[in-house]
């Protein structure tokens, strides 16, 4: 199907991810089957060959992300999708992509865990793994979505941020959002902002793939285009060659963090609702944000001053937005399908200036508006 103008469709979150990826210019997908993310691979196995792109089913998730990074170095927009157990296997090469600064998009449709857990049941237990799953100190960008339309938009945004900042971007969804079907407006192609990978403006002999630049993101030349350079997971100098020199390692390491930290205004997105006078602020993300919104409406109907802060970026953590909410809030309520991974972050930012209360479920069942309302009344 070729989308020409804005179209209205009844579609699934996974479908929206696949459509968003195609709209963003995806040309390479490597993956391994795993519930509940497999629909993304199935759709892309049909879509990609039609535009001359590559779909390949690899032998495991380790090889999948490896192939994705290889294709990205060779110039294609590349992505993979998986769920918990596969996400665990991808951590090694995720760190490689961070260190070597190779753009790629990794969709993790979370399921209940740890271990094999409940493959078809929803959870939000990978928030901290997405942040710290790969070893060593490193920055990361993690987006999320709570509607099918957001699955589309956030996929496009994942590619754009990944290409702009030369970083892997993780799109952290949950089983409910990926499998849910709802009426969805897909924007016309001309209304979708797609960033193409910036190319070096200098001849090969002047090119340094890890050079300090004003924007902290040196352009990435593609293999096979005349810019012969070295890529490694070892600490490296501006040319990409391994180095043990602190005067080369420190500036690189600092730039790696700075390119993300100085751009949180562009990377971090949240949606606030009824926050102006909110005494209680519900902080929620993914499918849980849908229940939170309903709970907020019902509480408002009873005259309670409740607002909703929906997170669309999980990492870097939306510190400024939480900080702003502390101006009116006496209490934060954090519903999530885990034992409090985002709640701990909210506590870190709030620093005791308001109560932070968690509403948790981790048995493979969604959090209902009723459960959130009960927590509102109880505290």
């Amino acid at each position: 199907m070729v989308v020409e103008a804005a179209t209205v469709r009844f579609m699934q979150g996974s479908e929206a991810v696949a459509e968003g990826a195609m709209a963003a210019g995806l040309r390479f997908y490597a993956g391994y089957p795993i519930t509940p993310s497999t629909e993304i691979a199935e759709i892309l196995s049909r879509r990609l060959p039609r535009v001359g792109g590559v779909f390949i089913q690899m032998e495991d998730e380790i090889g999948s992300l490896a192939a994705v990074i290889g294709a990205s170095i060779a110039g294609l927009k590349a992505a993979t999708a998986t769920s918990g157990p596969g996400f665990s296997l991808m951590q090694e090469n995720l760190g490689f992509a961070v260190a070597a600064e190779i753009p790629c998009v990794l969709v993790n449709v979370q399921r209940a865990g740890p271990s094999t857990g409940q493959p078809t049941a929803p959870a939000q237990g990978d928030v901290m793994q997405a942040r710290w799953g790969t070893h060593g100190d490193h920055p990361i960008v993690v987006l999320t979505a709570s509607t099918v339309r957001e699955c589309f938009d956030q996929t496009v945004r994942s590619f754009n941020l990944s290409e702009r900042y030369r970083t892997p971007v993780i799109l952290l969804l949950d089983e409910v959002v990926a499998h849910m079907r709802e009426r969805t407006v897909i924007p016309a192609p001309e209304d979708i902002y797609v960033l193409e990978r910036p190319q070096p403006a200098v001849p090969p002999e002047w090119y340094f793939p890890y050079e300090e630049t004003d924007a902290d993101v040196p352009p990435l030349a593609s293999f096979g285009e005349g810019y012969r350079y070295h890529v490694t997971g070892l600490f490296h100098d501006r040319a990409g060659y391994p180095t043990l020199r602190q005067d080369e390692i420190n500036p690189w390491f600092e730039r790696l963090f700075r390119k993300i930290e100085l751009n949180v205004d562009e990377i971090v997105q949240t949606q606030g609702e009824m926050l102006e006078d909110a005494r209680t602020v519900i902080v929620a993300y993914g499918s849980t944000a849908r229940a939170a919104r309903q709970a907020m409406k019902e509480a408002r109907a009873k005259g309670r001053r409740v607002g909703l802060l929906k997170l669309l970026t999980l990492w870097p953590f939306p510190e400024e937005q939480i900080e702003r909410a502390t101006r009116t809030a006496r209490r934060f309520l954090v519903p999530e399908m885990n034992r409090g991974q985002v709640r701990l972050e909210v506590e870190r930012v709030v620093k005791g200036r308001a109560d932070v209360v968690g509403v948790h479920r981790y048995d493979g069942t969604v959090i209902t508006p009723t459960q959130i309302l009960q927590a509102l009344e109880a505290h």
Binding site: I56, S64, A66, V68, A74, G224, H230, G233
Partner: protein, 281 residues
């Protein structure tokens, strides 16, 4: 001969930037790199069109010295990264350098599947039968009875035969050479590069530092002599010499099989586009 080999070294090595290298004096890795460079030089390949990919270990450090598009990946994953490069840029020559532990232990799954898919990659496995960079632990090709830092009482596991695995897994081309037979090695690598499909060259190499010193061959010279005395060429076997107790060298498998990128772009993409065109009409 010596004069003819000099130009490729200047052409294809990052001679002004990355030397001296990290390997021990007497290590076979440098000889393998030399053979690869001479093979590429003999074929007259454009540096821009060549990618060299490696994993982790002593062999993993090889690409940094070569003036190609070079990628030093994670342990065992070189073939999976290389698969991505090859599919994204099908016209590139992708050379993958791995050690025995890299290719057959941690990377064993990627190795058999790359062979099964028959992606047009040239896999060069530097087989020294030991984990050298970490200081001499047993590898999947350490001979039974040999000593290693993690086999103080001798290795009790049977070693893999790399060439047999590559053959059984479906590679188009499989060859075995040694560092001692260096001119032969160069020709085998050249044939492997030219061959369309997944090509494997197993190179029996020496690590006197980590392996030799524990196994009564404390110098590189003794290990090279071992390679001379314990291998026999397939040509000599064909001429009637006995291969009893010896490792065969030469081209072991050379067959025509459908290559993955050819099949993908000529059949899958063409079919998908034809069906799409029909649906839109």
């Amino acid at each position: 001969m010596t004069m003819q080999t000099l130009p490729p070294i200047h052409e294809y090595l990052r001679s002004h930037k990355k030397f001296p290298h990290v390997w021990c004096a007497g290590c076979g890795a440098g000889n393998v790199l030399g053979s690869i460079i001479r093979a590429v030089g003999h074929l007259g390949l454009d540096r821009d069109e060549v990618a060299m990919v490696s994993g982790i270990g002593c062999s993993g450090r090889m690409p940094v010295y070569a003036d190609f598009n070079t990628l030093h990946t994670t342990h065992g994953r070189a073939l999976a990264f290389a698969t991505g490069i090859k599919l994204a840029k099908p016209n590139m020559q992708v050379l993958v350098v791995m050690g025995d532990g890299d290719a057959l232990a941690i990377g064993g799954n990627h190795f058999i599947h790359a062979a099964r898919r028959n992606v047009d990659l040239t896999a060069i496995v530097v087989n020294n039968g030991i984990y050298g960079l970490t200081g001499g632990q047993v590898s999947p090709t350490t001979p039974m009875g040999a000593y290693a830092t993690t086999a103080t009482y001798g290795q009790i596991e049977r070693p893999f035969d790399i060439a047999k695995i590559a053959d059984a897994a479906g590679a188009s081309f499989v060859a075995r050479g040694t560092v001692y037979h260096i001119l032969e090695l160069e020709k085998l690598i050249e044939q492997a590069i030219v061959k369309r499909g997944f090509s494997v060259v197993e190179v029996i190499s020496q690590c006197h530092t980590a392996y030799g010193r524990l196994n009564m061959m404390p110098t590189a010279v003794e290990m090279l002599k071992w390679q001379r005395d314990n291998t026999i060429s397939v040509a000599a076997v064909a001429a009637g010499k006995s291969a009893e107790g010896k490792i065969t060298r030469g081209v072991l498998v050379d067959r025509e099989l459908p290559e993955f990128t050819d099949v993908y772009f000529n059949q899958v993409v063409a079919r998908a586009q034809e069906l799409t065109g029909r649906a839109e009409r």
